[in-house]
Symmetry: C2
Subunit: 301 residues, 2 copies
């Protein structure tokens, strides 16, 4: 076993392999990196910017001197591929897990998320889609009522959906020597029980299927987009037209005039295909009135 | 195994027996009855009274025609004794689990809970105390920030604290044929693996200790008390004196005059011993100015 590999002390590997073995697990979402969850929680609670909070996290020992593995989503990508391999009973190549870190998340995005009824979390998301499987790690807009939304600070949680059990979530400390030790000792006791039973291993590898690993072009989701543009007539119409041209439909919109005669435009889309959104944003970026596409954050419901 | 016995489809029995086997589990708290959680959630969200919501729950099939086992806490007591027996590796006699149902919870208590930063949940609480163990099922004031506080509707969750792992919570559907089926199939697959391994049983009974089962006189907790009294001078002083006489110290207090010249007095106490609180309330009840002790609800932090 390798219970400590994901979620520290949280029992998750064995429950998926044993208790939930009768399920076809359709979807796994996890807050599997405590460092980034600590940073995002503190940004939200205190309205601070990323750089400021990172320094505080480093001072407290929650982030390493070189924080790349955490803040760029690499650590979460490894954990997500382990979760997905067990959930979907098919080995997942971690190099094919899309990853995007939290370094570009701003205090503005945090504030808009709150206004729109969401929180921003770095999620590892793995789903069965189109007869294959897909995994991605990126900052995500999550409705405040989702069980993962209230997982704060350095705590971790793994949420999953099985075809029989429905929604299940496992919550606990994702790091720390005693928490990880708890998982390792659980494994050791399992080995001792095996010896006592005269059994070689109770849980064999469960990756007995081969599912194709799909790319981001298979993602369909809602999206949060924040754009900075000149505060001129028809700017909104031209942006909306570009979205419509690419089959991206708007669910809600906020426009805010700024003192510097720029307009900040925030858009929530309906479900849209990833390539369509990317193409629409490319077209919007080339509009003369548009200064910058500040943020594009995917939404999970 | 008997994974379906508590929390429906939520993996909890095996994780405690295996993954957390290296821990001394000090405390278990659970929302283990979906019917009462549905009723309390709806009372809170819609400001309704118990009787009204019970009828709605019966109409929707969330409560049985004879709802006694659920609303009086008996079902939760059975589940709590199973959880505690595994957590504390010592068999717990269910007849000694204190139980108190939710029938007396009023819309007023719900509103005061919210004002004070709490929610009311029917919790099964089991703790190791004074070299023994103690289990009780009763409505509980729980801080809104506690992970169990946002478990709503028919969902269940079990929160526990281990000396190594720290705080862990398991969340999911506590009832439903498919959810329970998921747990049963997990057990069946376990049996099949045992046969395949030539092993008799991987998880034997883990109740290898004998801990004394203690009574409610060993409980120490904070308390919420709501009293109806005549709105006269010195009424508050006389109540506060009776509390002080019994070593019950007040943490916060709300007094509200009512149109019928009665005063409603709401008290949150500091940590106090159960027998002291009971004696203090007995003394307060016999004060001539006191009309009624409307509520006494224990608080967990």
């Amino acid at each position: 076993m390798f219970e400590a590999s994901v979620g520290g002390g949280i029992p998750i590997i064995r429950p998926m392999k044993a208790c939930l073995a009768g399920n076809n697990i359709l979807e796994v979402k996890g807050i599997v990196n405590g460092t980034t969850n600590y940073i995002l929680t503190k940004m939200r609670e205190e309205g601070l910017d990323f750089d400021e909070v990172l320094k505080d996290a480093q001072a407290k020992g929650y982030a390493e001197a070189d924080p790349t593995a955490d803040i760029e989503g690499n650590d979460a990508a490894y954990k997500t591929s382990i979760l997905a391999s067990i959930a979907f009973t098919s080995r997942m190549d971690v190099s094919k897990v899309y990853r995007e870190g939290i370094t570009k998340i701003s205090a503005e995005d945090m504030a808009y998320a709150e206004k729109l009824g969401y929180v921003i979390k770095l999620l590892g998301i793995a789903k069965q889609v189109d007869n294959g499987m897909l995994a991605r790690v990126h900052p995500t807009f999550l409705p405040v009522k989702h069980p993962l939304a209230s997982v704060n600070g350095v705590m971790n949680a793994i949420w999953l959906k099985g075809d029989a059990v429905g929604e299940v979530m496992f919550y606990g400390p994702g790091a720390g020597s005693l928490a990880a030790g708890s998982a390792v000792v659980g494994d050791v006791i399992d080995i001792a029980r095996n010896i006592n039973d005269g059994s070689t291993s109770h849980f064999h590898c469960t990756c007995y299927e081969r599912r194709e690993m799909l790319g981001m072009e298979h993602v369909t989701c809602k999206n949060y987009i924040r754009i900075l543009a000149n505060d001129k007539p028809r700017v909104l119409a031209s942006i909306a037209t570009k979205l419509a041209d690419h089959q991206v439909s708007i669910s809600s919109m906020i426009q805010r005039a700024r003192p510097d005669s720029k307009a900040e435009i925030v858009i929530l889309t309906h479900m849209a295909k990833e390539p369509d959104v990317a193409d629409a944003l490319e077209a919007i970026r080339s509009l003369p009135v548009v200064t910058e596409i500040c943020s594009w954050i995917r939404v999970e419901e």
